[in-house]
């Protein structure tokens, strides 16, 4: 049965090895489910959150994976949206299925973790029923739900390409028809994703009484709105490329042409460079104008363990350095440098999301208040790690049973 499901002409690891891998992933997921159910049952008192840290690891992980999942919408935009004007972008097709699967796991995983995050999960639907149009969170709730649906729709035709399913004629026709209209969904996804990546940035930026977070902006959107969008597209495809490389390493074979990685490196390098310039400008304006107007100086915001090293790591080590590597032909020519830069790029975006979520709340606003430190508990780590295992599970199953990489057969003749 397993063999019959594997796409024709490609090699996969022996079934028992795959089962062992799945068992390991299921064990991690079970650990996370146990922790998640405990939180739902006993309450958020099991976590390390408190009245200072209303947001913590759950939100950091959510923001992080949603940014890294942006590969799906941005690759869709590059391929379906503008590749007819820039034919070089047609290369993206070779990796776009993986980008959709990665996007799907990131978004559905984030939604699952979000369910734990709210104190009254059964009331989650109130977000649609009593929406506050001024709240950035309302925009997030609407856009993430819609986009998760779009990603599911984008994932379905990939599933239907499975050998056994494709052999059923009505399924084949349905899958084929879906493929035809995929451009429409990809572009809808681009629009939705643009807004919610932005509104996630807006969640912090609109907090006008929190000097660490607050940013001025354009019309109703604070600058963080735009910075979150750009940083997401500067890291999403890099994350997809890293996952692809990981599968290649595990499977000991080539799945996409190196030119695809190089194209992603060029695109990501350019966007990351633009992002870092804007981020530095934003940081300078914030440190020299916005925060002082609220009575704060830059050094008020940084104290151990959330010291200046975080700012340096985010902007220089994980921003300027990878942008420089990805923009240089020499950097792109070396696998170690290129994938190292992809990794730093992704790490920088996660640091940014952590800083805007956790460090932001450590900083006391009232002059006589305390600096607080947040330590997540196992009830936060377990569901977060389980979410990664869930991602690995879906990607493993998709890789084994679906023709994710159109060039795999040619690159690995048997």
């Amino acid at each position: 049965m397993d063999k019959a499901l594997i796409p024709e002409g490609v090699k996969r690891c022996p079934f028992p090895v795959f089962v062992l891998w799945l068992l390991f992933l299921f064990a991690v997921i079970a650990w996370g489910v146990w922790a998640g159910v405990s939180v739902l049952w006993k309450g958020l008192n099991l976590t390390g959150l408190n009245n200072y840290f209303g947001f913590g690891l759950y939100i950091t992980v959510d923001l992080g994976v949603i940014a890294l999942g942006a590969g799906a919408f941005f690759s869709g935009f590059l391929f379906y949206g503008i590749s007819r004007f820039f034919p070089a972008l047609k290369e993206i097709k070779k990796i776009i299925n993986l980008a959709v699967v990665v996007g799907f796991v990131c978004y559905t995983g984030a939604l699952l973790v979000l369910l734990l995050e709210i104190g009254q999960p059964l009331r989650g639907w109130f977000g649609y029923w009593h929406p506050n149009v001024h709240s950035m969170l309302t925009e997030v709730i609407f856009c993430i739900t819609c986009y998760a649906i779009v990603l599911t729709i984008e994932y379905v035709p990939i599933i239907l390409e499975n050998r056994k399913l494709d052999a059923i004629r009505p399924v084949h026709i349905f899958g084929h028809s879906l493929h035809e209209i995929m451009a429409l969904f990809a572009l809808t996804g681009t629009f939705l994703s643009f807004f919610h990546q932005g509104s996630l940035g807006g969640v912090a930026g609109v907090l006008f009484a929190r000097p660490f977070c607050y940013r001025t902006g354009f019309f109703i959107w604070p600058w963080t709105f735009f910075l979150f969008v750009i940083s997401a597209i500067a890291s999403g495809p890099a994350f997809t490329a890293l996952i692809c490389r990981t599968i290649e390493k595990f499977g000991r074979k080539q799945l996409v042409d190196r030119s695809v990685y190089e194209l992603i490196a060029k695109i990501e390098g350019s966007i990351l460079a633009i992002y870092i310039v804007l981020k530095i400008a934003d940081t300078l304006y914030w440190a020299m104008v916005t925060a002082p107007e609220m009575g704060f100086k830059l050094t008020d915001f940084y104290r151990e363990p959330y010291g200046m090293w975080l700012l340096f790591a985010e902007i220089v080590v994980c921003g300027v350095v990878p942008a420089a590597v990805l923009l240089s032909p020499k950097g792109r020519a070396s696998n170690t440098l290129m994938f190292g830069a992809f990794f730093l790029d992704c790490a920088g975006i996660v640091i940014n999301r952590f800083v805007m979520t956790v460090q932001a709340l450590a900083v006391p606003v009232m002059p006589f208040d305390h600096w607080e430190v947040y330590v997540p508990t196992v009830y936060e780590w377990a569901p977060s790690i389980a979410m990664l295992a869930y991602g690995a599970l879906i990607i493993s199953l998709s890789y084994r049973y679906l023709p994710l990489f159109p060039r795999e057969r040619e690159l690995n003749p048997t």
Partner: protein
Amino acid sequence: MSGHEEHKGGVRYGMVIDLDKCTGCMACAIACHQENNVSFRTDETDKTRNIAWMRFYLLENGKDYPEYSFAYLPRPCFHCDAPHHAPCTFVCPVNATQRDERTGIVNMIYPRCIGCRYCMVACPYHARSFNWWDPKWPSPMEEMLNPEVSTRMRGVIEKCTFCHHRLNRARDKARIAGEDPDKVEYTPACVEACPTGAIVFGNLLDPESEVAKLAKSSRAFTISAKLETYPKVYYLSSKPWVRKLADKGL
């Protein structure tokens, strides 16, 4: 006085707390807990997770004896009057916390709150507490709960309401007596309990009210005024270091 210029009514309830008079006895906090059915745990070691509508801060001037000086600062919700929205009401995704523009009171609709804690994150004064546990009262305390105030469930936010139920009671009385319910005066529990009369409450828009006069005193200040949240709770102190400590400045 207020960042909010277009009030729907002529009423803006506010409070003035005189730190020169406050002895730190915390009678206001106790009265508040009792009046508003604020739950507590038998082990309250973790002060970052307990529920306090009126929290106390100890302010110190940082000097050694004999120049050492201190003051207590009781902190309710400031019912911020920033234009359009208070920091917290602006962000609530489900409108579970709103500012009543007829009174200026920032309220909470507990059965609507989804417990996302975004409002808690938005409030710079830590005036909001989350219900981390199911509320429980040791027997026979449950029989002492105030029937006018709903208890809260686990997973929702709560905060000072300026004893909103007392306002409702006063409005009902006025209606029965054929008077204008929008002109009523009432007293929150903390004000009633303070033995030194350090807390004054009333309509900030009424220039004849004591609260409005005190809010204009040379001793008056608000906390972190630079944030432009426009608190409707003012403090009074004759000590310059206390007034200075209230606001960060470069």
